[in-house]
Point group: C2
Chain length 509, copies 2
């Protein structure tokens, strides 16, 4: 650099913002001209972390330096994400300064070297994460340091507390507010809309907020979004719940446990989901959402997130003890995780399964229907809405008589209007290579396959499963159908399918 | 997205490259128009990992999606780094495809969950890292999973092997090739140029390749670059060594242990440097550089990288056993790490210290001179160049009589020409607030302070230390002087200095 700042000015001059039209996903990026006065005066270089201030809002962005006169010396380009977060308008000036030293990272470093994280450390880290002060590589280090069983119970309790306290908290009238959550790991398995519809039809208050997918082809929020608006603000959410007794909203728009959303963004590409992070993520959202009673569905199977009995027992105990420490009633149910539940994997395909169950259609997947009824029954009993033992009959009747379907439609209408989920333009079946019996299927590979086909970013993408464990198939019979919107993704998924053992079909004479 | 690909084409069409002029540091970024045929057909979204191919070269880049007609539908913008790595020229067409699935990440995930990494896993991971297939967050997860003592000896040996085998290896004529390395953690302490000059003057072959800074304000390559070109290609390196018996080059231009350079890029912002990573990094470079005998300087002190006796013993044993497994002779020397060595911290400031010692100037830092002579003496004895016990006298004489200085100049000339290191435009002393005795100084905070002033990115930046441990200072006496090239950095360093206990000065009556 050949520019020197003349002595004098106390601070760097403000720069005029330019919308670069560059989508960096959620990462904040600022583009500054290499020879501009601020780059020179402040000694910024590429990948510097800088603090941007505009009309009382501030955020930490990563610097990309731009050469060759593409920006005027007094201009600063903003990525779409930074433009939105700052609420920038054309002609605005932005102040740019060095980002403050990230002191809480020393706590993460201590954790990597085997020290415990105390409440103050976790509050500091989570506060910085929620405020967008952690670059992605620092978040990855934090997540990795806490994975693999390296967080003890007290650390998990304090992590949960820190995640609750950094965000908004809801409160609901009435002594009992029900909630339901599946720890995931099983593709398909979209019981939540069914459970909420039945429970709300039974008069329980269930203000359900869900996440988008972490490592799966779809989260409940992704699925619901194909049928109704889910990005509700707080007044809308309150109105929906007070009118219908329940909702099926995306939690991310509500700033409940906002650090969780930032962590998930990095967890997802890493495909990393530790016990402590999982418990803190799930329970912090429930506590912040004002739930009093939460039913937790934990599928157990060799390729599910929870692989065996020992893992289940450990996770169940951790969920219960952390919930209890925060005054939340939790009941953990073990479910069959040996194969996917329902047929679809991917937002719209799972929505079609949900609709078939709610509408009582003959072609509805029986396993999804049965599991939805069982969970709704357990929730109604756990919340004291029906006497013990009567849950299954009540839940089955509300579904069979259409009350759950009407409640679901009413919730969708209150959220902004029901819509039919779309269908993919491109489909391709995968056929059995020989006759035999399906003796195993790999849930992780099925989830990967659906993701390669484009789920959840492309709502219609994913796959439809045509067989169940133990079923006999004939050569040439379709095992699944890939759904995609783009040729590249379809090719990519097909290529993975050819190379990976998704199914085990044992030959029979 | 509202675009559908007409059926037909087997692959996506190639895109015309556009140089965006955006400096993203070493990260490869491709900018593609949202409505272009490739984005649509391949289903790419922001932050997708995509493979780029151009004239037989390929790399994996991160996608940023560009809106609003800033790129034509058939154009693809490249970051400066991607443009250079692909050897792109205006008018070139680039092929774009989904990046292959990163299978080796499953090994990293297993490591996070407590499993060992075997030789094949490490080879797969290191191969993918060296080929640029790991996004930064995945590298961060790998580094974190291996930090904090979680790699055993065999894993460290195999990591070292994988890092050697993924790159180039040099070989030198003659049975003995000497080398010297400091594991770092002590700011200043720039003995390498002094040791190489003395050893080469004594006739030892010392083809020294050094790294740039990881977590310190300067690496030897950064310091040497202020005095001579260091980015030598292999023919130049061979010519320098055959003419002068030694060199002081940057290893990064030679593709020796290239994965290390990628790992360091992420280690640096994380300020993370584990035993296993440190040993593999150091020894893989030495093995690849063709060294037979390496002297390892390990400073020990409460704020150095190695804090105490137990850590030293552990690191020494690991260095020795890993070196031995690879047929490398290693001698580990413990040195005083309670305070910095020399006065300067930062590339140019340390170069000035080195020159003062080599030129035998009266104002040369005595501690740096003494340590340089002691290390050169040990290296000459270890390599059998002088009989045991005679090293100190030989080394001191070569320095005092100017032979080392002439050798240093000759090496710099052979590398492309000696130059005087520059000096900073802005300087500001920090004064003692009261009279007393300096009883402690924090090396990590001093290093952080020099980094905040701009080192090592800004060569002249850093700080000059005016006091030593145990020294009496009077109120108003300068303890150090900050050097910076930009007001923002000077302010930033000053702010950190005001808030942090860098020195402990105990009041005296």
């Amino acid at each position: 650099m050949s520019c020197l700042m003349p002595g004098g000015p106390a601070g760097a001059p403000a720069l005029r913002v330019v919308r670069m039209g560059i989508d960096t996903s959620q990462e904040f990026v600022i583009y500054m001209p290499r020879e501009g006065p601020v780059c020179c005066a402040e000694g910024f270089t590429a990948l510097s972390r800088v603090e941007l201030r505009l009309r009382g809002r501030s955020l930490i962005a990563t610097l990309n330096v731009v050469d060759g006169g593409r920006l005027a010396p007094d201009e600063a380009g903003l990525s779409n994400s930074a433009w939105q977060a700052l609420g920038a308008r054309p002609g605005d000036d932005v102040d740019v300064a060095h980002a403050p030293v990230l002191e809480s990272m020393s706590r993460v470093r201590a954790k990597i070297y085997g020290h415990r994280l105390d409440a103050a450390s976790l509050a500091a880290i989570v506060g910085d994460v929620a405020a967008g002060r952690y670059p992605d590589v620092h978040i990855a280090a934090f997540l990795t340091a806490c994975a693999g069983g390296r967080m003890d119970v007290q650390e998990t309790i304090e992590l949960t507390r820190a995640m609750v306290e950094v965000g908004e908290c809801l409160a609901w009238p009435g002594a009992v507010t029900g909630d339901k959550h599946c720890v995931g790991g099983l593709p398909g398995n979209r019981t939540t809309p069914i459970v909420v519809a039945i429970a709300a039809a039974a008069g329980l208050v269930v203000p359900k907020t869900s996440s988008r997918a972490i490592t799966s082809p779809a989260g409940t929020a992704d699925v619901m979004e194909t049928m109704a608006p889910v990005a509700l603000d707080l007044p809308t959410l309150r109105r929906v719940v007070s009118r219908e007794g329940g909702c099926l909203a995306w939690g991310g728009a509500l700033a409940l446990s906002p650090a969780d959303d930032v962590l998930i963004r990095v967890e997802r590409p890493l495909d990393l989901d530790s016990d402590a992070q999982l418990v803190a993520s799930v329970l912090s959202k429930k506590i912040a959402a004002g739930s009093t009673h939460v039913l937790l569905d934990v599928p157990v199977g060799p390729t599910a997130k929870v692989r065996g009995e020992a893992d289940f027992v450990r996770l169940k105990a951790l969920l219960e003890v952390v919930a209890q420490a925060h005054g939340l009633h939790a009941r953990v149910l073990r479910s069959d995780g040996t194969q996917p539940v329902g047929r679809g994997m991917g937002p719209a395909l799972e929505a079609h399964d949900v609709l078939a169950v709610l509408q009582g259609r003959a072609d509805a997947p029986a396993d999804l229907r049965d599991k939805g009824v069982a969970l709704a029954a357990a929730l109604l009993e756990f919340c004291g809405r029906v006497p013990a033992g009567e849950g299954p009959a009540v839940a089955a009747r509300l579904l069979a008589q259409g009350a759950a379907w009407r409640k679901f439609l009413a919730i969708c209408e209150a959220q902004g209007g029901f819509r039919e989920p779309p269908r993919a333009a491109l489909r391709e079946p995968a056929l059995a290579q020989w006759s035999g019996r399906v003796t195993a299927m790999d849930s992780r590979r099925l989830a990967r396959l659906a993701a390669l086909a484009g789920a959840p970013n492309v709502a219609v993408a994913g796959l439809e499963l045509h067989v169940k464990l133990g079923q006999r198939v004939a050569v040439g019979q379709p095992l699944l159908t890939l759904h995609a919107q783009a040729r590249g993704e379809l090719d990519y998924a097909r290529q993975y399918l050819a190379a990976s053992a998704v199914f085990t079909v044992e030959r029979e004479e």
